[in-house]
Symmetry: C2
Subunit: 408 residues, 2 copies
């Protein structure tokens, strides 16, 4: 996809119900002790092409396993999601519970259970309170409407402090298409192939194959490029559904509109991924780490992830310290090829290291630059053309408090 | 080495000067702003067999590069160490400074500079204050004596809150040999082939090859099995010197005494490694993580390191929470082969997970067990015979405070 396909985007109101052909609901079923919304339904008015990517954690939760099986056909009618209980490490009863969630949703909608994706997020290792969950699904099914994307986005939150949704419109041959999305996630975030939970909808008439290709290429440069704490969840999942309700000819991978719609999907995934980092547990700063001049794009990604996951780097940003030595350390401990005498580091706009050694800089100016909410750090290896950008947040007292107290 | 070679050890007073044939000194040269000791010399009375292992960080500091070159002969007379400045990311002037430190030491002792190991620890990317360093070396050389191991151990500390030294004696064919050691380190600790800084001495007549083999096998199961924060320093180094001053026949790799002396070296390295974890930045708990039943020892090590490096696991321990779900998550995100239905987790003596699902346990008993200063966590994969133990500490507010304020 060319960058030029990203021009001409317009942001729209709403999230997953912004595209035509989708209904949603979010209700309080009593799974969260707080009484907040905790069961969401996302439903296409008719069965439609879909694709999903999942966590690579080998302890993948029951809903991930069930959804992987159900979505293999490339067709979906609905997604059912609960927050407050992850249904992970729950054995065969957890599998039965995930299947029962799909079946209850299918019964309410009059479709096949294999057309239902199931997602759960919350505490690991606790049995699902199925009476509450099933009552919640029934209630949500009775409340489905085309403006409730917001309620659904609220119902999938756990330690999130703000609701994450976005919608973008594009035009292909005089037809206006919308791509909408919602996501949740704030801790246990270093997605590997997907993020905590994200749902992307579009009214473009993508084929199943086009859904799979567009989602994979979008996730690789968005959700797979963010890290809060280097921990990969057991429940990560990202689902794309394409209702085709906006009309127009079917769009396959080779077709003209594919790049435009794919670009919009990538933009929606990027916005959601960055929202997850901005809401990183305890985060006070949003950090964009770019490595360039690497021997390969893979080297650049490894080095950028090594920086973004370094607790010493993250605490330095929290402390407002232009501590470029920790960037050098993190580059050096990564698997990237490095010539120590060529390393250049630009820290919040200030060149702090060149040719592998210190460049004198104004500490006051650095302190001022580091007081900003968004910090850019760039390491140039001066070896080749490899480039990668990842997004992360700082490591604060609050991260320790949240995770010393919350049982996830 | 058999476990039986570890029986019959006796602990002795002191550290690197406990073995015969070694002198040391630790002086205040003014490199640390606090005025504390910051230059150490460790000197064998005569040139002797030696071996060293170094960080694999590709941004290895100048002293690491110089020492790697000097120690390639397998012969050493002395080590010169400064704290307060890491001489890392300092380019060609840093290399010249490290060489000048070796030369000044050699001049004071009347030996070849290539017999001098150089080590530095402290802030990255600052030029070395060579006038202070050289004056410190001269002063230290004038104060060398056989009881100053303690002063030397003090002079290599940075954020360490206690001094780390240990000595062990063993007997081989009626000759009593001593192995002594000192180490420093508390943050930027996930050694890869060596630790922050550690110096081990023995008066056993090991050959150079025996030194290299004994050190490598000791480091692999000690310093390479501890992690404080997953960050691998640019300056890690572990040096072994064997004076032979206790007498007896030369001991090579195949000789009878090798296993006994090697076992003592491993025990000294193990004690020092665990001291580094106990002094982990902000640590309130010492954690021993064991993975067994893995498909291979390598799988066991990967899974154990994944647990020990998980910020979510470490904050749970800080919060006194038997949060076994985070152990399951960390096992699952590692590269180890896992059957989710076989995982068993024992958390501080309490079985919390069996066959991959929750086992009901008494939360009050768990809270009591987790109030201890030392916590054992075991994950049994029930797949094979692979086993590994690693040591780590919890992640506390204090880690964030220390590293938000300290420029390393």
């Amino acid at each position: 996809m060319e960058t030029s396909t990203e021009t001409g985007f317009s942001y729209a109101e709403g999230g997953v119900t912004a595209p035509l052909g989708f209904l949603a609901a979010g209700v309080s079923a009593g799974i969260k002790k707080s009484g907040k919304r905790d069961v969401a339904l996302l439903v296409a008015e008719e069965s439609c092409p879909a694709a999903a990517v999942y966590t690579l954690n080998t302890m993948a939760a029951a809903p991930v396993q069930v959804t992987r099986e159900h979505m293999s056909s490339g067709i979906a009618r609905a997604a059912v999601v609960n927050a407050g209980n992850a249904n992970a490490c729950t054995g065969s009863s957890g599998m039965a519970d995930a299947r029962a969630m799909a079946q209850a949703t299918a019964d309410a909608l009059g479709c096949d259970a294999r057309e239902v994706a199931v997602a759960s997020t919350g505490v690991i290792g606790m049995p699902m309170p199925m009476d509450l969950v099933l009552a919640g699904i029934a209630e949500a099914a009775s409340e489905l409407n085309s403006t409730a994307g917001n309620a659904a986005a609220e119902a999938i939150m756990t330690t999130d402090t703000f609701l994450k949704e976005v919608a973008i419109t594009v035009e292909v041959e005089d037809v206006r298409y919308t791509v909408g999305g919602m996501a949740k996630g704030s801790g246990m975030i270093m997605p590997n192939m997907a993020t905590m939970l994200a749902f992307v909808t579009t009214d473009a008439p993508l084929t199943s194959e086009a859904c799979a290709v567009a989602l994979r290429s979008a996730v690789d440069v968005t959700f797979n490029r963010v890290t809060v704490d280097s921990d990969t969840s057991t429940n990560d999942m990202c689902l794309l559904m394409a209702s085709g309700a906006a009309g127009g000819d079917s769009i396959g991978v080779g077709d003209a509109g594919f790049a435009v719609i794919g670009g919009a999907i990538r933009a929606v995934c990027g916005e959601l991924a960055r929202m997850i980092v901005r809401d990183g547990e305890g985060a006070t700063k949003f950090i964009e780490v770019t490595v360039r001049g690497a021997a390969s794009d893979g080297d650049a990604r490894d080095a950028a992830m090594s920086i973004a996951n370094s607790p010493l780097f993250k605490t330095a940003i929290f402390g407002g310290d232009a501590n470029w030595g920790r960037v050098a350390m993190a580059v050096g401990k990564s698997s990237a090829r490095v010539d120590p005498d060529r390393l250049e580091i630009v820290f919040a706009g200030i060149t702090t290291c060149k040719d592998g050694t210190a460049v004198p800089f104004d500490e006051d100016a650095a302190a001022l630059a580091l007081a900003a909410n968004e910090i850019e750090v760039t390491a140039d290896l001066h070896l080749g053309d490899g480039t990668a950008t990842v997004w992360t947040c700082d490591l604060s007292y609050e991260y320790v408090r949240i995770n010393g107290e919350y049982r996830s």
